[in-house]
């Protein structure tokens, strides 16, 4: 699954992320570089850095930890140059994010497709992500089947079918009906057709809507009925522009369906997705992919160091 590089001249996700973030970096009172240019770790630098981290949605708790970490590193290593301080800060953040760096391994059990269930709140970009994933897996030589499990939102099925057409992928859908049933059918269809990967879409829901959280828990149980080892991956799609509520989302969805991986979308805007640091601190889950653009190929694996560098570089 790691061999996703299909178009050689394409910019790496890091460059894209970097490009997206440049604009924001410039907005935060001069560039990050001038912040570090002081050449010593004093209160003013730490205060500016705190502002930078907080503005990146890193959250209060993780910011305090990161700043303390930098303070200690500065003391131990006697950092005196802007470059070394900046590098140390990148290290702090990269170390914090490191546990999240775990790419998705596609390993279908014999006689069964690899079933990936996708969940998230309304408007997080689930269906779009699903389309991108389908493209991604196809490019890596897997056969893919999409299950239109969002039977609630108007035209969600059509949106997925449009994606399916673009990617030349079969979409299993039903007129209205129960999402569990649609996905159950899709898993069976994939088994019968010997397809490698089933991508199951679900309707967006807020964690406060208890009946919908119960519904998605049921969807997960029904998937297990269709194939005892499934779902092999439960992806939670998080909108990169949202703030500290992301933590609550991870916790709530994890409780309902046992999240095994995260996808962070919309990182091509001016938002920086610093909430990942807060997630790393409070409820760590592997980040499987990050979405850095609208194009199909703009979904990329996550690298803690590249992310930290893009945020603080």
């Amino acid at each position: 699954m790691s061999d996703a590089t299909d178009n050689p001249p394409r910019r790496s996700w890091r460059e894209r992320l970097f490009a997206g973030l440049t604009k924001t970096r410039q907005q935060i009172g001069g560039s990050v570089r001038t912040l570090f240019a002081r050449g010593q770790v004093d209160d003013e630098l730490l205060e500016d850095l705190e502002a930078l981290l907080l503005s990146a949605d890193v959250g209060v708790e993780a910011t305090v930890i990161l700043i303390e970490d930098l303070r200690q590193r500065a003391r131990k290593q006697n950092l005196q140059t802007p470059e070394s301080i900046q590098a140390a800060m990148v290290d702090c953040l990269a170390d914090l994010l490191k546990p999240l760096e775990a790419p998705l391994q596609i390993a279908p059990p014999p006689g069964s497709p690899f079933v990936i269930m996708v969940a998230g709140i309304n408007g997080a970009g689930k269906t779009t992500t699903l389309g991108k994933l389908a493209h991604h897996f196809q490019a890596a030589g897997h056969s893919v089947l999409l299950a239109a499990g969002d039977t609630f939102r108007a035209a969600a099925r059509e949106q997925l079918q449009a994606w399916g057409e673009r990617n030349n992928v079969t979409v299993i859908a039903q007129e209205g009906g129960d999402p569990s049933a649609v996905i159950f059918d899709a898993v069976h269809a994939a088994k019968a057709r010997g397809i490698d990967i089933v991508l199951a879409d679900t309707a967006g829901r807020l964690p406060t809507q208890m009946h919908l959280m119960d519904e998605i828990a049921k969807i997960r149980r029904v998937i297990t009925k269709a194939e005892t080892t499934a779902p092999h991956e439960v992806l939670l799609v998080l909108d990169g522009t949202i703030g500290q509520n992301a933590i609550g989302q991870v916790k709530a969805f994890d409780k309902a369906i046992g999240v095994t991986g995260l996808v962070i979308t919309k990182l091509d805007g001016s938002a920086k997705g610093g909430v990942l640091a807060a997630i790393a601190k409070q409820c760590p889950k592997p980040v499987r992919y990050v979405g850095v653009g609208e194009q199909v190929e703009d979904l990329q694996p996550f690298s803690a160091r590249a992310f930290a560098e893009a945020l603080l570089g």
Binding site: V60, R166, Q209, Q244, G248, D268
Partner: protein, 458 residues
């Protein structure tokens, strides 16, 4: 999960207890807590900084009223500032225009624009009896037009068909033309979600706005939006002359700090909030509720309510009957008051709820709360004749001797009681004049209540 601001402040404010006003020294920690709480609620940092500075300015020198602890008074200042920042009143849609009144929707991807279009169409139909048409200029997202079509069907609005191979400007022109000819009163134009930094897309919506000249340009924003809310709002506000904001997904557990950021940056009123995916989930926006939500202030509300409930209004009314004005206050009333006070937990407890001015006066009051003491007072008064009780000035040396013997106490105790009575009578006169006589205590109680519940922003 998240601690609410009131609890956090409660801890900090313990040290502040007994201080009558807020000073630079004693609100420092509290301000820090406000900053943290706002950041955790996803209010953007620059907005938080300005806000904290304002709160500091307002809070300094502000007196602490009545039974409120300085902590509660401080939260009151914060709440008031929040409300002010968010606009005092609900701002309705301006639709008084030669039909069709055009409403243009703009926002990021996934903010909930299309759903909001449907909700708004329904709301306008139901509450304003408008004839509404909707049109989608989203030619980018697959099936976006279909989605709007479904939504329009559900709410019973007319739908102007468009297709992804058309240009947004052409669609808009055709829709306006059609709406005019067919006497649609309101035309809601849905647009594609766009990033604020996507210049081409921002230019497109600018052109769309110029062509449509809408009476309302609503910025649709996700209540969960993080720190980026300021940048996004600023960019949209600079590109488009926004007339209002719709805050969506407010039924999640996000604190909705984005509301504050967006409002602070654009200065535009938040007109609606979206809750639930069901199409009836759209409500006019009320600033004070949002202010409470951002602060996580449910607790202080109940606390203040409880404080005013303890001053039992029924008992207070009965007492007011007895007390009337200071002049008519006699020993019968005094006896009843002493008995009642025992029930209410003593005058001291009652006075705690009153403004500082009265609490001072209460310090001079007899210690009527002491059980033994009040029983003794009752005994002495019971030994008086009805005449003596209504006209205490009759009681001279020989009557005092008789009363003392009857109650089985020393004459000095009768003297002490009469002294206490006189003091109380004097205080009742004060109360009376303070609230212009007539139903004195009742009014005072009401006054006290408004001090806890009304005037303060809870």
């Amino acid at each position: 999960m998240l601690e609410n601001l009131t609890q956090r402040l409660g801890r900090v404010m313990k040290t502040m207890r007994g201080e009558a006003r807020m000073t630079e020294a004693n609100i420092g920690d509290a301000l820090r807590e406000v900053r943290m709480a706002l950041l955790e609620a996803d209010v953007s940092l620059p907005v938080v900084k300005d806000f904290v500075a304002q709160v500091k300015e307002k809070a300094l020198g502000e007196g602490v009223v009545g039974s409120l602890t300085p902590g509660q008074a401080f939260v009151g200042v914060v709440h008031e500032q929040l409300k002010q920042l968010m606009g005092e009143a609900q701002v309705p849609l301006a639709l008084n225009q030669q039909p069709p009144a055009i409403i243009l929707m703009a926002g990021l991807q996934g903010a909930g624009k299309t759903t909001t279009v449907g909700k708004l169409a329904r709301w306008l139909k139901q509450n304003q009896k408008k004839k509404v048409m909707v049109v989608s200029c989203d030619v980018y997202r697959p099936a976006a037009i279909d989605q709007l079509k479904h939504v329009a069907e559900q709410v019973g609005a007319s739908f102007f068909p468009s297709s992804p191979d058309q240009k947004p400007l052409d669609i808009a022109a055709a829709a306006v033309d059609w709406a005019r000819k067919h006497h649609e009163e309101v035309l809601i134009v849905d647009t594609a979600g766009r990033l604020a930094i996507d210049q081409a897309m921002m230019d497109e919506i600018k052109a769309l706005h110029a062509q449509l000249d809408p009476i309302e340009t609503l910025f649709v924003v996700d209540a969960m939006l993080g720190q980026d809310a300021v940048n996004t709002a600023k960019a949209f506000n600079e590109t488009l002359p926004l007339t209002g904001v719709v805050l969506t997904k407010l039924d999640g557990d996000a604190r909705g700090g984005a509301a504050l950021s967006v409002r602070a940056v654009t200065g535009k009123p938040i007109k609606f909030v979206g809750v639930a995916e069901k199409l009836d989930g759209l409500e006019p926006f009320y600033p004070d509720r949002m202010a409470s939500r951002i602060l996580g202030m449910g607790d202080i509300l109940s606390l203040v309510e409880a404080a005013s409930q303890q001053v039992d209004m029924d008992q207070a009314a009965a007492m007011a009957q007895k007390i009337k004005s200071g002049k008519g206050f006699d020993l019968n009333d005094f006896r009843a008051q002493v008995a009642q006070m025992r029930q209410m937990g003593g005058m001291t407890a009652l006075m705690d709820k009153l403004p500082a001015k009265f609490a001072e006066a209460a310090a001079n009051m007899p210690a009527g709360s002491d059980d033994k003491m009040s029983r003794r007072i009752q005994g002495i008064i019971d030994s008086m004749t009805p005449d003596e009780r209504t006209k205490p000035e009759l009681i001279k040396a020989s009557r005092k001797r008789r009363i003392a013997t009857g109650a089985g106490v020393q004459v000095q105790e009768v003297n002490r009681l009469l002294n206490q009575f006189e003091q109380t009578q004097k205080m009742m006169k004060q109360f009376g004049s303070m609230f212009k006589g007539k139903g004195g205590m009742m009014k005072m109680m009401r006054g006290a209540k408004s001090m806890f519940g009304g005037k303060l922003p809870f």
